[in-house]
């Protein structure tokens, strides 16, 4: 049981896509299980926008269950008795890894002087951690949503270091709609007077209202219309009729406000700006003359691309786009669309079809790699 954050401090300079160099680099990470003698059983799990390194085991900071407790652990599908599981907080995050809330070289919090980062930069930081752990080749890299983007970036930039890749509910590039929703969130944060031009730490304020609204807007995109209807419909909150005011009359309003208020306790507003920006900039094919399949030609491992039918944030068409490019590149790929009404968030929930697919894929990959 971890009582505090485990942080790796590297005094290397991490070169970033923007041209800036980040030094020092700190990486908050957790591991579960044992690395075998051949160092061939490591699974890297990449977390989503607001996730963290606590993929398994309770989260000591929030006190909440881990975000993939249903998948990662002893005897689970990602079996920590069998695999050495690594998960690190992304670059730009606020759970131990260098980000805008970290203290910069001048002894002050970075704030907006933190360099703008990309998904590729996040993967560079992860690769530095994997190097530090002495792992040459990862048995598998798995991630959902933004985590899936990191998976794709891993096999495009470090194909020889990955045996099996599983991008889940993800996309090879951010669509205009994705960018639009992120911009709404960022504008909400920046419109909060307590944001203070990004220097709220120095000024002793916190833009909780803006960040909460950003979370509320984003949360809608994680759920499907059908799931919202099923959970809330037009039901009223603690009242029998509408109050002719702007209180939370409807249960859905109350739910979103709760989600927003809970989020600000654990997340840094500037981190939200930086990480959403990194996602917006993500367009894997752009580095390969616009040909996505060229991003995958050097990857000789297996891939399994998973999507969820009611996900309108990263819809199944985005996953099909990835799959088709992989076929064109000659990658051994399987593709799986889970029938569900739970929307994007389904990748975090108990979806038996999804879990069966992951179990089948990992078992076959382990057999391939002699594990």
């Amino acid at each position: 049981m971890t009582s505090a954050l485990q942080i790796l401090r590297l005094d290397i300079g991490l070169p970033l896509d923007s041209g800036a160099v980040l030094s020092p680099l700190e990486i908050g990470y957790e591991t579960w299980g044992e690395l075998n003698a051949a160092k061939s059983n490591a699974v890297l799990i990449c977390h989503a926008l607001t996730g963290d390194q606590f993929v398994a085991g309770p989260n000591p900071v929030t006190g909440q269950p881990a975000w993939w407790a249903n998948l990662v652990g002893p005897g689970q599908i990602i079996d920590t008795d069998r695999y050495f599981v690594v998960c690190s907080n992304v670059l730009g995050g606020c759970m131990g890894t260098s980000g805008p809330a970290s203290i910069g070289p001048d002894g002050q919090p970075y704030g907006l002087s933190f360099p703008v980062i990309t998904i590729a930069d996040m993967v560079r930081a992860q690769a530095a951690l994997v190097d530090h752990l002495g792992i040459e080749r990862l048995f598998a890299v798995i991630g959902g949503s933004m985590g899936g983007m990191q998976v794709l970036e891993w096999i495009a930039s470090r194909p020889e270091r990955v045996g099996a890749a599983m991008p889940i509910a993800s996309a090879a590039r951010h669509s205009a709609q994705n960018i639009a929703f992120h911009e709404v969130g960022r504008q909400a944060v920046m419109a909060d007077p307590d944001w203070q031009g990004g220097a709220y730490q120095a000024k002793g304020t916190r833009p909780v209202k803006g960040l909460s609204v950003a979370r509320m807007a984003a949360h809608i995109t994680y759920l499907s219309d059908a799931a919202l209807h099923r959970k809330f419909g037009r039901r009223l909150q603690d009242r029998n009729e509408v109050a002719f005011g702007f209180d939370a009359d409807f249960q859905i309003e109350s739910y979103l406000r709760y989600q927003g208020s809970r989020f600000v306790d654990r997340f840094d507003a500037n981190s939200y700006l930086y990480i959403t920006r990194a996602m917006d900039y993500f367009d894997l094919a752009a580095g390969f003359n616009g040909r996505l399949s060229d991003a995958f030609t050097a990857f000789k491992g297996r891939a399994c691309v998973v999507s969820f039918s009611s996900d309108w944030h990263y819809p199944p068409a985005d996953s099909r786009h990835i799959t088709r490019a992989m076929i064109g590149a000659g990658v051994e790929v399987s593709a799986f669309e889970v029938e569900t009404d739970k929307g994007h968030d389904a990748f975090l929930l108990d979806e038996p079809q999804f879990h069966e697919a992951m179990a089948g894929f990992l078992a076959a990959s382990a057999a391939d790699q002699g594990l």
Partner: protein, 210 residues
């Protein structure tokens, strides 16, 4: 999904046509029974494409590398010569453009193995002759308005189309009442009468190296 029984006579013949360690693409692989056997019995490197989501999901859960796709549209994605053998079992009659499908298979793999129901089978002919209605037989179990089959043909028709698509015939095997006969090196009128189903093993005409 089509018939998924684990012991299909056409599967036995297809497995026999696949050398050890061959790279095989099964187009319309249903729930992956054939792919699984090819992997187990031939140590083949297997991939599949299947239209139905349920079929794809069943395959992936078994650890098979299968994607959802439509033979009419998605074969174009595969690079030239990416497989040794492309299999199309009981699927060609359900495609919209069988000739295009065959030409894609010709491009993707050096060999093709195709199994199909034979509309020239004597029971089918007699059924149509005497009943005056679209035949419903063991090999063609669905009525005309429920069948997924769009392009039924006879063994001789398919032989023509395969040649037109750039293939030459390596062997054709007759199946009747679930039993396979010894393979023949060519089609004939008699074989057309006697085959309920047929399995064609095809190779690129002239086998010109590409």
């Amino acid at each position: 999904m089509k018939n998924a029984a684990s012991t299909r006579a056409d599967h036995e013949i297809i497995i026999n046509a696949v050398p050890q360690g061959a790279r095989v693409l099964d187009v319309g692989c249903s729930d992956g029974v054939l792919l699984h056997r090819l992997k187990q019995e031939r140590n083949a490197i297997v991939r599949g494409m299947e239209l139905s989501q349920a079929g794809v999901n069943a395959c992936v859960a078994k650890g098979l590398s299968v994607v959802q796709g439509d033979a009419d549209l998605d074969l174009a994605l595969y690079p030239d010569d990416s497989f040794d053998i492309v299999v199309l079992s009981r699927t060609i009659q359900a495609t919209r453009k069988p000739e295009m499908v065959l030409k894609q298979m010709h491009r993707i793999g050096a060999k093709a193995v195709v199994s199909l129901p034979n509309f020239g089978f004597w029971q089918v002919r007699l059924s149509l002759l005497f009943n005056g209605r679209m035949p419903v037989t063991q090999g063609l179990p669905d009525s005309w308005h429920e069948t997924e089959n769009l392009h039924l043909c006879t063994l001789l028709d398919f032989d023509d189309l395969a040649k037109q698509s750039g293939f030459e015939l390596e062997s054709v095997t007759r199946i009747a009442a679930g039993k396979a006969s010894a393979p023949s090196i060519g089609t004939s009128s008699l074989l057309n009468w006697l085959s309920e189903e047929a399995v064609f093993v095809l190779k690129r005409a002239g086998m010109a190296s590409r």
